[in-house]
Subunit: 354 residues, 4 copies
C-alpha cells in the first residue's frame, strides 16, 4: 500500500486545499477504508466551506473533509469482530464513544461524551481522501446490490429521512406533503413512494428542484411556495389535507404550511435544521388532534434496516447524484455544490468514476 | 311502492325458503333500503344454512337472511340526521344499542346490550329481500366510484381485515404472510398490496384458492399447507421470516406457522374465527420479541375510512365475487357457496345484475 | 312536576338574567334532568359573560347558560335504550349529530354537522336552570361514589385533561411539568398523581393558584413564571428536564417553556386554548427527538373510562370547587368567577347545596 | 493486588467446586471488578447446578459461575472510554459482539455472533469469585443510592421485568395480574407499584411466596393457583378482569389464566421461560381485542433508565434477597437456592456481607 495519500481540507474561504498526508494505520477496533464515494452535504457548504461557523459538536477542526463516506476495507486493526478485509461498508457519519446512553441506543449522533463524539469530516478525518480510518462500530455493511455511491447517500441523507418516516408511519393509507425539495426532500419522496404513500405533494421555490422531483417520479404534484399552499394541498386531497407531512425546508413559513395542510389526526415531522416556527395551537394542532415530531438523524441499527429495505425495493439513492468528480477535482465539486446548480455532488474513486 | 316483497329465510336444513312478506316501514332513526347486493358469508353457511348452531349473539332467530347488505335509501323515518332519499349505503352488519361503551367506540360488534345488539340477517331482518330496514347509525355512505357489490364486501370482510392491518401496521417495510386464502385471506392480500407491502406470501390447502390469489395478483407466492411452511417462508425472506403475519384460517397449525414464520420484532394478527392455538412462548415469541394481536371486525368509523381509501386506491372488493344470482335464485346461491366451488357469491338486484 | 322553572341567561354585558320559562318535555332519545350541579368554565366568562365574542361553533345563541351540567333523570322521551328515570348522569358538553365520522369516534366536540353540533349552554339550553333536556347519547352514568359536583367537573375539565394525558402516556416513569395552574392545570396535577407521576412541577403567575396546587398536593414544586423556568425545571430533575409536559396556559412563553424543559425523547401536550407558540425546532425538538401533541376535549367513551377510574382512585374532582351558589344567586357565581378570586365555582341544587 | 483468587465452579452434580485461580488481567476495553454481590438465578440451578442441560447459547462451558454480578472497578484495560478505577458497576449479564444489529439495539441478549455472544457465568467467567473481568460496553453505572446487592438484581431480574412492563405500559390506569410469584414475579409487583398500578393481584402455588408478596406489599391480593382463578380475578375487578397481565410462571395453565383474566382491549406479556401455552383465540383474544407480547430480557440502555428510576423511586431490589453467604460458602448458597426454601440468595463480599 502507498505510504502517502491525497486528501482534501476546507480552509473556510470557499476553497479546497489538497494535501499529501501519510496513509493512516488502523488502531484497535478500527479499519482502513479505500474510499470509493464521498458526497457533499449542504451543511458542509454552509458551516465549513464558506466560513467555519460551527462550534462544539458543529465545529470543523481542520480535518480531512467529507462526512458522507463509503468505501472498502483494506486493513483492519486488532479487536475487530464483524468486518474484515474486502468488505464494502457505509460509515455512520458521527463516531460516538459507544458507551453512553445515546450511543447504546444506536444514536451516536447525540453521543454525550464530548471527548469521543467526533463527526467524520468535521472533528475527525473524513472521506475526501484516498483512504480513511473508521471505527468498526460505525460501519454498516453495503450489500452487493448497492453501489458505493448509493451507500454514501445512506448515512446522512436517507437515514435521516427514514428515521423521521418511521416516527410518523407512512403507508398506502397516506397522502404526504413534503416542504423543501433539496436532497433530503427528494429522499423523502423516494422513501415515501416505496413505503406505499399514495399521493405525494412537494413544495419548493426552485424550479429546477421541482422539475427533478417530477422527472424522477418522487412527487405527484409540485407547488411553488406561496401563501396559497394550504388551500392548494387541501384541494389536491378532497378538502381534507394530507395525512402526513415532512418538513425538509427549515423555513418558518413552510413549516407552518406543513402543520396547517395536515388533516385531522395527522402527523408532521420536522427534519430541516435551523430557524424557527410559529403557529396557533388551537386551530393548527389542538382542534384537529395533530402531532408534531422532531427527528434527528437515526440510529445505526435502523440504518442497517434501511439498507436491507433499499435492496428489497431496488431503490438506488445514488439516482439523485447529478455530478461526480475525481478526488483531485474536489475543488470543482465543492464549488458546484456551493453554486446550487446541481443535485447531489459526489467525489469518487475507482469503479465509482465510470 | 309495493306493499309486499320477496325475502329469503334459512330453515337450517340446507335449503332456502322464499316468502312473501310486507314491505316494512322505517321507524324513528331508520331507513328503508332497496337492496342491491347481498353477499353470503362463510358463517352464514356454517352456523345457519346447514343447521342452526349458534346461541346468543350467534343465534339465528328466523329472520330474513343476509348480513352483508348494500342498497339505496328509498324512504327515511323521522329523526334521520345525515342520510336521505337516494343515498347509496353500506350497512354495518351488527346493529348495537348505540349508547353502551362499545357502541360509543364505534364497535357495535361488541355491543353489551343484549336487547339491542342484533346482527342483520341473524337477529334482525337482513339483506336477502327486495327491501330492508336499517338504522341510520349503521349506515356508511357508498361513494359513486364503488358499486353496491363492492359495498357489500366492506362491512364483514374488508372491514375486518382493515382493522387487523391497522393494529399491526402494514407498509412497504413489510413482507407479509397470509395463512388461509378464503375471502378474508384474499381481502388481506388486496389491502396489504395497497398499503404498500412488498412480498406477500399465502398458504392454503385448496388449489383453486391458491390459483385465485396468484391470478388476481394478491399474493406473490403461494404455498400448499404443510410442515415445511416455516422453513419455506424463511427461504423466501432471506432467512428472516416475514415482518407481519395475518391468520385467516382459524386452523391451529396454520396459526402456529404464522407465529413461527414471523421475524424478530414482528407482529401477528389473528382474524380467523374458532378453534385453538398452541405454541412455545420462549422460542416462538419471547426470544424474538414478537407480538400477537386479536382483532374483531372493526368500528363503523374505521369502515368509513376504509371506504375513502378504496376510492383512492381504485380498489374494488367486488373483484373477488365469482357468481351473482337474482333474489329468486337465492337457493342456488347458498347451495353454491356451501359447495365451496366458488369465490364470493352475491345475491343482486337491478343494476348489479348486469 | 312544575310547569315553569327558573333559568339563567347571559346577555353579554357582565350580568346574568334570570327568566321563568316552561319546563321542557324530552323528545325522542332525550331525557329531562333535574339539575344538581353546573359549574362555570373560563370560556363562559371570556366568550359569553363579558361579551358575546364567539362565532359559529363558539357563538352563544341566547340559550340557557351552563356547559358543565350534572343531574338526575326525571323523565325520558321515547326511544331511550340505556338510561332511565332516577339515573344520575353527567352530560358530555357538546351534542353532536351522532352519525358523522367524528361523532362515531365519540368526539362530538368536533362534529362536522353544523346543524346538529350544539354545545349545551352555548347553542342549546344548558345547565343553569332547574331542569334541562339532554340527548341520551350525550349522557355518562355517574356512579354513586361520585357527587353531582364531581360529575360536573368531568365533561369539560377532567375529561379534556385525561385525553391529553392518554396521548402522551403518564406513569411512575415520569416527572411532569404543568404550565398554567387554573382549573385545567389543577386537574392535570390530580390526574398525573393518580396515574403514578413521580415529581409534578407547576408554573403560574398567580400566587393563590400556586398555593392551591401545593395545598391540595397536586404539585410537588411550584415556580413563578419567568425566564429562568427552563433552568429551574432542569435543576429539579437532575439536569434532564421532565419526561412529560402539559401546557394549560395558552401562553406563548409558557408553551415554549414546556417544550424546552422537556427531556430528550420527551412528550409535550398542548391543552390551553388560544394564542400562538414560537420555538426553534433544531434545539427545541429535533436534536432531542421530542414530540408535541395537540389534544382537544375527549371522546364520550374515554369519559366513561375516566369516571370508572375516578371511582377506583377515590378521586373527587369537586375538591377544586371553592364556592357553591344556589341557582337564584347565579349572578354572584358568575361575578365571582369573573373576578378570578376563586377556584372553581358551582351553581347547585338540592343535596349539592349542603 | 493478589495474584490468585477463589472462584466457584458448577460441575453439574448438585455441588459447587471452589478453585484457586489466577486473578485475570483486563484486556482492551475490559475492566477488572472486585466482586461485591452475585446472586443466583433459577436458571443457574435448573440448567447448570443439578445437571448441565443447555446447549449453544444456553450451554455451561465450565467457567466461573454467577451471571448476576455487581462490583467495583479495580483496574481498567486500554481503550476504556467511560468507566474508571473506583466506579461501582452492574454487569449486563450477556456479553455480545457489540456490532451486530441486535447488539447495536442494545439487546446483547440476542447477539447473533456465535463467537462473541457469551453469558457471564455460562460461557465466560462470572461473578462467583473474588474478581471478575467484564467488558466496558457491558457495564451499567451503579449510583451511590443503590447497594451492590441492589445492582445484582437489576440485570437479569428487574431489567427483564422492566422491559416487559414498558412493552405493555403500566400506569395508574391499570389493575395488574401476575402469574407466578418467584423472584421475577415479585420484581413485577415492585415495579408495577412504582409505575402506579392500582390493584395488583398475584397467583402462585407456594404459600411462602404468596406470603412474601403480601408482606412486602407487592400484591394487594394473592390467589392460590386453581381453575377458579379467572372468575376470582374478575370478581376482584368489578367483573371486567385486569387491564394488564404478566406471566412469570412459564406454566401453561397460568399463561391461559393470564390471557383470559385480562379485560377487553387489555395487554398480556409473557416473561416466564419454557413450556407451552394453548388457548382459544376467538373468545380469549379476538372478541376482546387483546394483545399478547413476548419479551426477552432488555437492552442495556433501558437498564440504565431503570437504574435511574430505582433511585427516583427509592426502590431497593435487594429487598427480595433473603439470604447472603460469603464466597467460601457458595456451596451452601446454591444448596439453599436449590431447596426453594428462600427468596433470592446472594453471595457477597466486603460491605455487602454486613
Amino acid at each position: 500500500m502507498n505510504e502517502t495519500m491525497t486528501a482534501a481540507y476546507l480552509p473556510g474561504n470557499s476553497t479546497v486545499e489538497m494535501r499529501t498526508v501519510p496513509v493512516p494505520t488502523p488502531g484497535h477496533g478500527e479499519v482502513l477504508l479505500r474510499m470509493k464515494a464521498s458526497t457533499i452535504c449542504g451543511s458542509d457548504i454552509r458551516c465549513i466551506y464558506h466560513e467555519h461557523l460551527g462550534k462544539g459538536p458543529e465545529g470543523y477542526q481542520g480535518v480531512i473533509a467529507g462526512h458522507e463516506p463509503c468505501g472498502q476495507i483494506v486493513a483492519t486493526g486488532p479487536g475487530c469482530r464483524r468486518f474484515q478485509f474486502g468488505d464494502r461498508v457505509i460509515v455512520y457519519h458521527i463516531s460516538g464513544c459507544g458507551v453512553c446512553n445515546d450511543c447504546r441506543r444506536g444514536y451516536m449522533i447525540s453521543c454525550t461524551n464530548s471527548q469521543y463524539r467526533r463527526a467524520y469530516g468535521w472533528q475527525r478525518d473524513g472521506g475526501m481522501a484516498e483512504f480513511m480510518i473508521a471505527e468498526e462500530k460505525d460501519l454498516v455493511a453495503l450489500p452487493d446490490q448497492l453501489s458505493y455511491a448509493d451507500g454514501a447517500q445512506v448515512a446522512c441523507g436517507f437515514g435521516t429521512v427514514y428515521e423521521g418516516l418511521q416516527k410518523i408511519g407512512i403507508s398506502g393509507d397516506h397522502d404526504v406533503l413534503i416542504t423543501g425539495l433539496g436532497p433530503v426532500g427528494l429522499a423523502t419522496g423516494a422513501l415515501c413512494r416505496r413505503l406505499g404513500a399514495k399521493k405525494i405533494i412537494g413544495i419548493d421555490i426552485v424550479p429546477e428542484r421541482m422539475k427533478i422531483a417530477l422527472d424522477l417520479g418522487l412527487c405527484d404534484h409540485v407547488l411553488p411556495s406561496g401563501t396559497e399552499n394550504v388551500a392548494q394541498v387541501r384541494e389536491l386531497t378532497a378538502g381534507f389535507g394530507v395525512e402526513r407531512a415532512v418538513d425538509c425546508s427549515a423555513n418558518s413559513a413552510a413549516r407552518a404550511t406543513a402543520i396547517r395542510a395536515t388533516r385531522k389526526w395527522g402527523k408532521i415531522v420536522l427534519l430541516g435544521e435551523g430557524g424557527s416556527v410559529e403557529f396557533n395551537p388551537s386551530p393548527d394542532i389542538i382542534h384537529d388532534q395533530k402531532t408534531i415530531y422532531g427527528s434527528w438523524v437515526t440510529s445505526i441499527w435502523l440504518m442497517e434496516e434501511l439498507v436491507e429495505r433499499l435492496v428489497r425495493w431496488n431503490l438506488h439513492p445514488a439516482d439523485i447524484i447529478t455530478h461526480r468528480f475525481p478526488l483531485e477535482r474536489s475543488a470543482d465539486a465543492y464549488a458546484l455544490m456551493a453554486s446550487g446548480k446541481c443535485g447531489k455532488v459526489a467525489v469518487c474513486q475507482d469503479e465509482e468514476l465510470k
